[in-house]
């Protein structure tokens, strides 16, 4: 197999707080290949957003990457200096966030913001930058780019703002787009528009997308491969069809069973007992064991390793499958 576009190896991120070190990411490992849409899914506090930010060197303080490597196009980005990173951010890697209203600067027109971004990364004059910006606007399906260029973010709806963000993320020829909950703040009908746009850009531009989300439905309908995250590490990963429909890990099974769609109307939903851990207390053994329905003695003591399923690409980190061939 070819060299992955992005490869995260044994990533550990900690936040030093007064209450103690919060272990947000505990040994995250995954690869994303060129042209694929990879879903990173998990509940709040599982470390999915911080992982996305770490790729951009943007982990907010007091967060520190204590261990691990992030390879992008074969080079470790964590070795890059701040000046080099400025070329990467918005250059070869674009990123969009959950709340587009908060991501755009309210005092500048959207046109100004995108052309500044373009002139940062490309050696072009003002006219050319504007031309490129207008092209980007029409590429992401924004109507009437010319007049949109001079509007302020508050004049646009949430869906249009998110399109502007996507345009900015891709304006300088990004190969990887990190989309952190890109549709969570949007209505379902607008969510459908944005997801359709991402899939279309993927086909037309050969874009690679890392989709960070809590919504298994979104992953099921848009992604090729998915990694399910719990307590800062990946518990199950593989092609979407295998992870979601031949689910192995008790946590993934629990997540799917907890969806109202999974049972008949009005029937009792299956729940995962307890709450998402806060990352402060170190759980010995498997991090999921206090909430697991299939917990065994070994789970309390020993950390599970990643086991390959029949399909080599489908791995599960659970003691239930360790003897399996």
């Amino acid at each position: 197999m070819s060299v992955p576009l992005l490869s995260i190896k044994n990533l550990h991120i900690q936040f030093a707080t007064y209450a103690g070190d919060v272990h947000a990411v505990n040994g995250m490992n995954f690869d994303i290949h060129s042209g694929e849409m990879f879903g990173l899914v998990g509940e709040s506090g599982c470390g999915k957003t911080v992982t996305g930010l770490s790729i951009m060197h943007a982990v907010p303080p007091p967060g520190v990457i204590v261990e691990g490597q992030i390879f992008f196009q074969g080079k470790n980005i964590l070795d890059k200096s701040e000046t080099e990173m400025q070329k990467v951010r918005g250059g070869s890697i674009g990123m969009i966030f959950q709340d587009p209203t908060a991501s755009l600067n309210p005092v500048f027109t959207v046109g100004y913001q995108i052309s500044i971004q373009i002139s940062q990364h490309r050696n072009v004059n003002k006219q050319r930058a504007k031309q490129l910006a207008l092209n980007m606007f029409s590429q992401v399906g924004l109507p009437d780019p010319e007049s949109l260029y001079n509007t302020y973010p508050h004049e646009l709806s949430g869906g249009m703002q998110q399109r502007v963000m996507i345009a900015m993320g891709l304006a300088s020829g990004a190969e990887l787009l990190i989309a952190d909950e890109p549709t969570t703040a949007l209505d379902v009908t607008i969510q459908a528009q944005i997801l359709a746009l991402l899939s279309q850009l993927r086909k037309s531009e050969g874009l690679t997308i890392l989709l960070i989300t809590h919504d298994l439905g979104v992953v099921a309908e848009t992604c090729d491969r998915v990694a399910v995250t719990y307590n800062g590490e990946i518990v199950e990963t593989g092609p979407v069809d295998e992870v979601l429909y031949q689910t192995k890990h008790p946590y993934t099974q629990g997540l799917i069973a907890a969806l109202p769609d999974s049972v008949e109307q009005g029937q009792v939903l299956q729940v995962i007992k307890g709450n998402v851990p806060d990352g402060l207390k170190f759980v010995t053994g498997c991090p999921f064991h206090p909430r697991c329905f299939a917990v065994m003695d070994i789970c309390r003591e020993q950390r599970p390793i990643h086991v390959h399923m029949k399909n080599k690409n489908h791995t599960v980190s659970c003691h239930l499958y360790e003897e399996a061939p």
């Binding site: 509940e43 709040s44 709806s157 949430g158 869906g159 249009m160 209505d187 379902v188 009908t189 607008i190 969510q191 459908a192 528009q193 997801l195 359709a196 809590h214 919504d215 298994l216 439905g217 979104v218 099921a220 309908e221 848009t222 979601l244 429909y245 629990g254 997540l255 799917i256 907890a258 969806l259 109202p260 769609d261 999974s262 049972v263 008949e264 109307q265 009005g266 029937q267 009792v268 939903l269 299956q270 729940v271 995962i272 709450n275 998402v276």
Partner: protein, 333 residues
């Protein structure tokens, strides 16, 4: 275990709204005065029967939260009637209103901001009890502990503060607070939207158990169609302050005789379950400005089947088949 929601049909209406309208007005400009009138609710007629769950779905700005707040009299309606147990709440005298307030309660979307951070859990839950009952002292504390146990929390937490709990735990406490006055009717405004999936399931199960045990009536407001469909007997779909479709929740997903907006809304929900997956109907554009709604049918600028009549004449909510009511010129039985 089988505690599927019991469809209650024989019971009479508990709450009826007649032509309920709420207009929010704002002024701007000094020399060049401009007034904007947003019709958040535009002639809403609803009947909520005893012991049923009526679901309200719609996108942001469709008026679903305003509807919940107006029914609770947290926001005063501009016109129209809210009739609770046969009594018009606008003309009721003070003692009657107090007992009405006791029988209607609300649970809000964000549990983190619906508690006073300086109150202990005891104070939060005791507040409605002090207003509406004569319980004091140890009896009051005992009742608070009972309420907490009823929602699956330990009674020992009464001296702790709200910041010590997670979202799911707080939502349980909020439900305990709503139950404190023995209400008949609870407005649930997006009670699970701020919660993770695994916790959302716990809260939905709890709400269904409580409804069965305490014979409660719910108005369940959410933007999440699958959650609403799961818990409700009947569902109302709103668009720009108006009801576009009303149906039983089993029949809501039946695409025959469905409002084009409901159709698009349902098709747009991403789902893990393959059988529920539909060809996405991607609607053009966004919800129009409520201060400046389109002529005729509110939905016509985005509607895939719109014709000339849709921009001229407003469709009325009419019976289609069985329990289905639809406001569309073209949907027939």
């Amino acid at each position: 275990m089988n505690n599927s929601i019991v469809p209650i049909r024989s019971q009479g209406p508990l709450l009826v709204t007649k032509n309920l309208t709420k207009v929010f007005s704002s002024r701007s400009g000094w020399l060049n005065r401009q007034e904007r009138h947003v019709r958040a609710l535009d002639g809403i007629n609803l009947t909520i029967n005893e012991q049923e769950t009526l679901g309200i779905v719609g996108e942001s700005g469709c008026g679903k939260t305003t509807l919940g707040r107006v029914i609770m009299w947290l926001t005063e309606p501009t016109s129209g009637q809210i009739i609770f147990k046969g009594q018009d709440t606008a003309t009721a005298d003070k003692p009657t209103l107090k007992s009405l307030y006791q029988e209607t309660q609300m649970v809000f979307q964000n549990p983190y901001i619906s508690f006073d951070p300086r109150f202990t859990i005891l104070q939060c839950i005791a507040e409605p009890l002090k207003t509406h009952t004569n319980l004091r002292g140890e009896k009051l504390n005992r009742r608070v502990r009972e309420l907490l146990e009823q929602v699956g929390m330990s009674g020992a937490i009464i001296h702790r503060y709200s910041h010590e709990f997670s979202g799911g735990q707080l939502q349980r406490i909020a439900i305990a607070r709503a139950l404190a006055t023995n209400p008949k009717f609870i407005v649930l405004d997006e009670p699970t939207s701020a919660l993770d999936v695994s916790v959302q399931a716990q809260i939905l199960n709890l709400l269904m158990d409580l409804q069965r045990d305490l014979k409660l009536t719910y108005l369940f407001i959410s933007h999440n169609l699958s959650t609403v469909q799961h818990i409700s007997n009947r569902v109302v779909v709103m668009y720009l302050g108006k009801i576009v479709e009303q149906n039983t929740s089993e029949a809501l997903f039946d695409s025959r005789g469905q409002h084009p907006y409901t159709q698009a809304l349902i098709s747009a929900i991403p789902t893990v379950v393959k059988e529920y997956r539909r060809e996405h109907i991607i609607l053009e554009g966004t919800v129009p400005d409520a201060a400046n709604p389109p002529t005729g049918c509110n939905f016509h600028p985005r509607c895939p089947i719109a014709q000339d009549i849709c921009s001229e004449k407003e469709p009325m909510l009419r019976d289609i088949s069985g329990d289905r009511k639809i406001a569309c010129h073209f949907v027939v039985n």
